[in-house]
């Protein structure tokens, strides 16, 4: 590979490569590990070449954060899709809500670096999940929490919060969640799962052994279900 190789890469390959490299760095060491020079090294390009594609390091980090969040959303969607049962079926509704929580916790445990990165908003450059989309269109995370189900013409809301809302709507449709309590309930539920993920991932509970960890997961998902429906969850197995 001499100077003939200068422009062999297809359009956008370097940019995509930098984001992919940043994602690998984030996977290993979290957002702080997303080092611009290291990413260019991995792509096989000179450091300042990155500035053809990003204004600065923070903009690269924003892209990596968005990609991490997209990865989480994808895993959650896959977990939900794996649960059989028609909409309106109470068991299916409970199963899908549980799948959402389980996928969230599994991602945090299996990919702690990416999980931390997904929620590490860069200082300067806001990012939307849309930026990370490889598929068609996505909606913004609605950070104001104003509410609604995201049916604003941009397609289903694939963000974690959007998927949670969908599951809670289904729970209400199935008659398991009182309608009067539906409004805004996604935030306490989200907080509970997120809190456990953080405490057990990088927080004071990070050293609990795996069996106890699983127990905490079930205890917490059970607490949520009880808080929503007033019923204890069925014991698995």
């Amino acid at each position: 590979m001499r100077q003939t190789e200068r422009r062999r890469r297809p359009r956008g390959a370097v940019r995509d490569g930098l984001v992919a490299a940043g994602l690998e760095l984030a996977r290993t060491g979290g957002p702080d590990a997303v080092v611009l020079r290291e990413a260019t090294r991995m792509v096989g390009v000179v450091p300042n070449a990155a500035y053809r594609h990003f204004a600065d390091r923070d903009e690269l980090l924003a892209a990596v954060c968005a990609a991490s969040m997209d990865e989480l959303a994808t895993r959650m969607a896959a977990g939900v899709a794996r649960v059989p049962g028609r909409p309106g079926d109470p068991d299916a509704a409970l199963g899908r809500l549980s799948a959402i929580g389980t996928a969230y916790l599994a991602f945090a445990r299996e990919e702690p670096g990416l999980f931390a990165t997904a929620f590490a908003l860069p200082q300067q450059h806001a990012y939307s999940v849309r930026d990370a989309a490889t598929g068609p269109d996505r909606a913004d995370p609605d950070p104001t929490g104003a509410g609604g189900t995201g049916a604003d013409g941009t397609g289903p809301d694939r963000t974690p919060l959007g998927q949670l809302r969908t599951a809670l709507d289904e729970l209400a449709d199935a008659g398991l969640l009182d309608r009067s309590r539906r409004d805004g309930i996604e935030y306490p539920v989200w907080a509970t799962v997120h809190g456990l993920a953080v405490l057990a991932g990088s927080g004071p509970l990070r050293d609990v052994p795996e069996t106890a960890r699983h127990h905490l997961d079930e205890l917490t998902l059970g607490f949520i279900q009880n808080g929503l429906t007033g019923t204890e969850p069925a014991l698995p197995g």
Copy 2:
């Protein structure tokens, strides 16, 4: 101040000063802002002087983390102490539990840097809350989550988790929390409050306006109370 000033400081003053300086840095910018050289500058001492008191930067950070956690514990204890009512009184029990959550959320909101630092365990040097104690003795945070109320002869457990356990015990004593559900319930409750603190502090909900933030707080504390006692919390005001 010439060379005569060389050893004017009382014993331990530099070490304490470094931790205090680190705490101020953490208050402003979180754990990453705890820069050894900057702390020595604030104390008015040459950079390598820090190595008389700490093995390396990480050990300084550990002390600052412990001090941050202690600050949180102190605020929680103060909030609980402000609630009147004898032990066993149901209203008082609910009030103290609520005070714990409120103090936790208030600390996260008012001191985001310290809150992040309290939960940013340094890589190498584990810390215990005992390290940060200015008063007599304290118990360790029991990171294994094995359980128990911490009555192991080391005095009352002032850690956040310990205080939460005390409040939940009182709730059970008052008959508001079913004894069969008491065991381990502190973890889902902790996770819920912690999750909201993180999401609203540095997470995707960090830009919600203050009134909505308060609404989220009440919604979440209400979710917890409902999950524990099966009763909706009384509306304030």
